[in-house]
């Protein structure tokens, strides 16, 4: 197990790591500005059935969904690495990724509702894709509650790793289920039976480029937040270690 108290020699390495994080943050902010222009100025507006101007939310909706589900896979991967190495750094990454995953899955749900209201005339339907997103949200909440319910950091890391892994194992089953069940949610890629009636729309090459740019932007925001949160968790652990050392000394 690593000692959380950093020797002075490591201080410069931490400093340079923090600088990289800041640089990523700046780059993400710049890209987000460009993305906003692309989405609201350059992108064509949708036809009436796909929500008109509201269709523009699609770019951020898909980008958040990508991270809302992807962040769990990062958590699961870090869980596997933690169980292999027993290095709490992996647990901090898993933890941070789950917290940020909550943010993005929440954005996914909210942006979907904002689009669904004018398009489907309902904030919420019990469509399977929507239900899956809600389920993913609940899984994050359960994961974070589990973490909150365990005192011992090492046991917490083990349990959280196991939950992250089994959670990821249900993903293929869930996708199988959502593929087979009828869905009114537009299938953006690939053929959809009655796409137009469902508010579907073709993704033209122009829209595709903008979508790719938004995906890259959101991913960079995720990386920035992850590094930032991991560093913060690291500091919390350092503090706990120093406190323990102080108590020990007295």
């Amino acid at each position: 197990m690593e000692s959380a108290i950093q020797p002075p020699a490591a201080a410069t390495r931490i400093q340079s790591r923090e600088q990289v994080t800041r640089a990523i943050g700046l780059a993400a902010a710049g890209m987000l500005a460009v993305a906003l222009v692309m989405v609201f100025v350059i992108a064509p507006s949708g036809d009436v059935r796909s929500g008109g101007e509201a269709q523009r939310i699609f770019y951020f909706h898909v980008s958040s969904a990508w991270l809302g589900f992807g962040a769990w896979l990062v958590t699961a991967f870090c869980g596997v690495r933690y169980l292999q190495t027993r290095d709490l750094r992996w647990d901090r990454r898993a933890h941070a990724s789950a917290e940020i995953g909550v943010l993005f899955i929440t954005l996914t749900l909210l942006s979907g509702m904002l689009w669904g209201r004018p398009t489907w005339n309902a904030w919420w339907t019990w469509d399977f894709k929507l239900t899956l997103s809600a389920l993913q949200f609940l899984m994050y909440v359960a994961y974070l509650m589990l973490r909150g319910g365990i005192e011992n950091p090492e046991q917490r890391a083990r349990f959280a790793s196991v939950y992250g892994i089994v959670g990821a194992l249900t993903v293929p089953l869930n996708f199988l289920v959502s593929r087979v069940l009828q869905s009114i949610h537009p299938a953006v890629f690939g053929p959809s039976v009655n796409a137009a009636e469902q508010g579907g729309f073709g993704v033209s090459s122009e829209r595709f480029v903008i979508l790719l740019f938004c995906l890259a932007t959101f991913t960079l925001i995720y990386v920035f937040l992850l590094r930032w949160r991991v560093r913060l968790l690291e500091r919390e652990d350092e503090l706990a270690a120093r406190k323990a050392a102080l108590i020990e000394a007295t």
Binding site: M1, E154, A244
Partner: protein, 256 residues
């Protein structure tokens, strides 16, 4: 003397707080070792690590010829543990409890007399075909040795604290372990039962097993102890081989 257990530089962190810092010890067959320490010195944690119930944060542990950190399942066949908790199902009878644990240990046949084949060798008693008929005499023997044979068909929940403790001991010696670990075993026993346990532990040592027990009571249960270790702040600070008396131990333990 054959070394039965060898622990090297065992460390254990609870979160950020070190509970054990570099404990090394070797236990040979025929030894009866007492580990003494104040509450919170790390005795229970050390014993749980030796019993393979807890994983050390660092260090190496060999039991018999088996690397107990890499293959704990094989090492466990050589270990018997009496812990703070009884590990007894209150809704099973004394006999049913022992039968269950006997099956879990694959207990069935007596180890051949002499019993000096190397503990690392497989098949000593693990993985053989055994039937319940062969289990019964062992259960009876264990219950008789702790004086519970006449209560064998009573539910464990009707037992007094001392009787539960005796049943716990019967559970731990049922598979005739080479290494018996006990965590404060004299707590809750009356005079007669304590004397009985003392005799049983000495007899284990004489039969070339090894016994390791923790205690914070300096007066009780030290008859027959061949070596005393003092654990303080997660480290073994003193070792006493001869002249293990309460007076000598108090002097060492209160030493700054």
């Amino acid at each position: 003397m054959t070394i039965l257990l060898s622990a090297t530089n065992i460390g254990k962190l609870f979160g950020m707080r070190p509970v054990l810092r570099g404990v090394s010890l070797e236990i040979a067959r025929g030894e009866f070792v007492a580990i003494l320490g104040a509450n919170g010195a790390g005795k229970t944690t050390l014993l749980r690590i030796l019993a393979t119930l807890a994983r050390p944060s660092g260090g190496a542990l060999t039991i018999g010829a088996v690397d107990a950190l890499a293959h704990p399942d094989r090492a466990r066949a050589f270990i018997g543990l009496v812990s703070h908790q009884s590990l007894i199902y209150p809704d099973l009878t004394a006999r049913e409890n022992l039968e269950f644990y006997g099956r879990m240990y694959g207990v069935g046949k007596q180890r051949p007399e002499g019993a000096d084949q190397e503990p690392g060798s497989r098949g000593e008693r693990v993985g053989r075909r055994v039937t319940d008929d062969e289990l019964q005499p062992l259960v009876e023997d264990a219950l008789r040795r702790v004086g519970l044979w006449n209560r064998r068909d009573d539910l464990a929940r009707t037992f007094s604290r001392g009787m539960i403790q005796r049943l716990t001991i019967a559970r731990a010696i049922l598979h005739d372990p080479l290494l018996l670990l006990l965590d404060e075993p004299f707590t809750g026993l009356d005079q007669a039962a304590a004397a009985n346990l003392s005799a049983l532990l000495c007899e284990m040592a004489v039969r070339n097993r090894a016994v390791v027990m923790t205690t914070h009571e300096l007066g009780r249960g030290l008859d027959g102890v061949t070596r005393a270790l003092i654990l303080k702040g997660g480290q073994i600070t003193h070792e006493l081989r001869d002249d293990i008396t309460a007076g000598a131990l108090i002097a060492l333990m209160t030493e700054a």
